[in-house]
Symmetry: C2
Subunit: 339 residues, 2 copies
């Protein structure tokens, strides 16, 4: 392993000079800099991460806590994770992957050990156990998702309330009067994951304002669960012509089931999904959807953290405005026959 000292000797300067060349924290003459840089290249020098972390109390690592569950939103999680990793690298940071398994202890461990300089938390619950710890440390953090109480925290998320409103609006505008919402799995609501409840809020209040009827049913993903849920919905509200689907693993099953029942999309029934773009365009009917801006959230989270670590930036809550893209799964409500 090549060390700083060896580079210094090779370049005929002192160790501190090499360090300053590397960090740019003091001015160095052009000739010296070049000599040092050449030595670094020649010797194939890489600064030792541990030593650097010890001396500077900066690890240049951002911790990313992903949910342990692989049952929901997998593509979104993955996309966020990759956006985080990629963005972090462009700022000279690496990413430590933590699973939710350790829970609050992970936060303690990371902040206590100086393993990471900052944290990004995904899958935040409304009243998350980790929040008091975050507030109690001076380590910067960003939540992807919105807890109940955000004071002293930085959060990014899609504005799910507006998303819900937007979906209802779109369907209402097309004349749909009876709308069913295929929600996330019951467990997601029990856990009080913010986004699910906020979407529902948005859906409900806009539905009330616009005078459309709304039926919300949680649904596990998969074909069988969707079949049961759909049967119940059509039983209870036979006149349903609009669907809002939040659980992406229910999308394709729903389309298949509707087809099976002879209900054409979008002629008889309209479907709006809240899902990543890719899912929307790859579905068997190109879906009118509100995209979940996974990449954008990941990138924002990292950039905010970097700013904070550089002494810039403040706590704030950023809600990304939803955008509804009209594709082939929504159309005017069939005239007359709505209940």
């Amino acid at each position: 392993m090549v060390t700083l000292a060896e580079v210094a000797q090779h370049a005929g300067v002192s160790a501190s000079t090499v360090s300053y060349v590397l960090s740019g924290k003091r001015s160095i003459s052009a000739t010296t800099r070049q000599r040092v840089e050449q030595s670094i290249r020649l010797l194939g020098y890489h600064p030792n991460a541990g030593a650097r972390a010890l001396a500077s109390s900066r690890s240049n690592i951002i911790a990313l806590m992903v949910p342990l569950r692989t049952d929901m939103y997998v593509p979104v999680m993955m996309e966020i994770a990759i956006a985080v990793a990629t963005t972090a690298r462009t700022h000279g940071y690496d990413v430590l992957l933590l699973t939710g398994e350790e829970g609050p202890d992970a936060v303690r461990r990371v902040t206590g050990s100086g393993l990471a300089d900052a944290m990004i938390l995904m899958d935040v619950e409304l009243d998350d156990e980790r929040l008091p710890l975050l507030r109690g440390t001076d380590q910067p953090s960003v939540l992807i998702g919105l807890p109940a109480e955000t004071t002293g925290l930085t959060c990014v998320d899609l504005d799910f309330r507006a998303t819900g409103a937007l979906c209802v609006e779109h369907l209402a505008m097309l004349g749909h009067r009876d709308i069913a919402v295929i929600g996330e799995a019951p467990a997601v609501y029990e856990r009080h994951t913010g986004f699910a409840e906020r979407t529902l809020d948005g859906l409900r209040s806009r539905a009330r304002e616009l005078g459309v009827r709304l039926l919300h049913r949680p649904c596990e993903g998969g074909y069988d669960a969707m079949a049961v849920t759909l049967a119940r919905i059509l039983d209870e509200r036979p006149g349903t012509t609009g669907f809002v689907v939040q659980n992406e693993s229910a999308v394709e099953p729903l389309l298949a089931l509707l087809r099976q029942r002879g209900r054409a999309v979008p002629e008889d029934v309209s479907v709006v999904a809240v899902c990543p773009e890719q899912v929307a365009v790859q579905a068997s009917v190109r879906l009118t959807s509100v995209a979940i801006p996974a990449q954008e959230m990941g990138r924002y989270a990292v950039e905010h953290l970097v700013a904070k670590l550089d002494g810039r930036g403040t706590d704030e809550v950023v809600l990304i405005a939803p955008e509804l893209t009209v594709r082939a799964s929504t159309g005017p409500a069939p005239s007359g026959r709505t209940s």
Copy 2:
């Protein structure tokens, strides 16, 4: 930040004693150990990661390189990543998330800086640029996937050749004589990703042995691409009654399209998928499938690395035997009408 020295002082022992209590590398009397452990708890001490890494030249971090592309096998990748992170924690390791973006440089950086003690590489190509670097370092590594040349490397993977053979066998046994293979996206083959080619090998050679006809067509995921691919296949081989699907994002579209053409699964047509269990059971028809043992691979990779880091363990290639689970998507070939 609480330091070792403070713990030592609090417990009335020397710093080295505390260190030995922590590492267990020398025997410590029960009473001293207890006193130290109590002080650690009381003060909320966490060893500083950087200092530890510097002094011991061990970071207790395992690097995981995931593919940058989010276009293929997302659930599998995610499942592996989570299995890796979880398993690593049980052995006292953390996981650093690297994307393929940096390519070989990432390997250089990690080994050079001592950021991680070992690496796990996913999405290995047959002739991967990173392999020479891995061979040239003494840092342990495990590949998830199989390159062309494995000497000096440790690899885990599903035995895709056997998987291909198994799928053909199952269909042949049921009387299917004309089998179509829905492969991965063309780009995957162009990249020479090992698993795709090996599966194909297994399919072809077993098909030859059993005297069944095989038609292989690469296919991008999604409904539209699948529609085109299916049309071509049925055009060329109208008597096709068996399908093997490797691209999981083609599964649901295929089922929808077959239904649409009035071909019932499994009465008229049988479908075998190579995909994670979850996808198989959640599909609109419960799929006969060979599961991709994502968790098992992730766990194995970590455990092998830990063994190597502990001075045990050797280089070897482990191919996990495929298991075909019969579900509702395969049945006897329709009698008489096969071409």
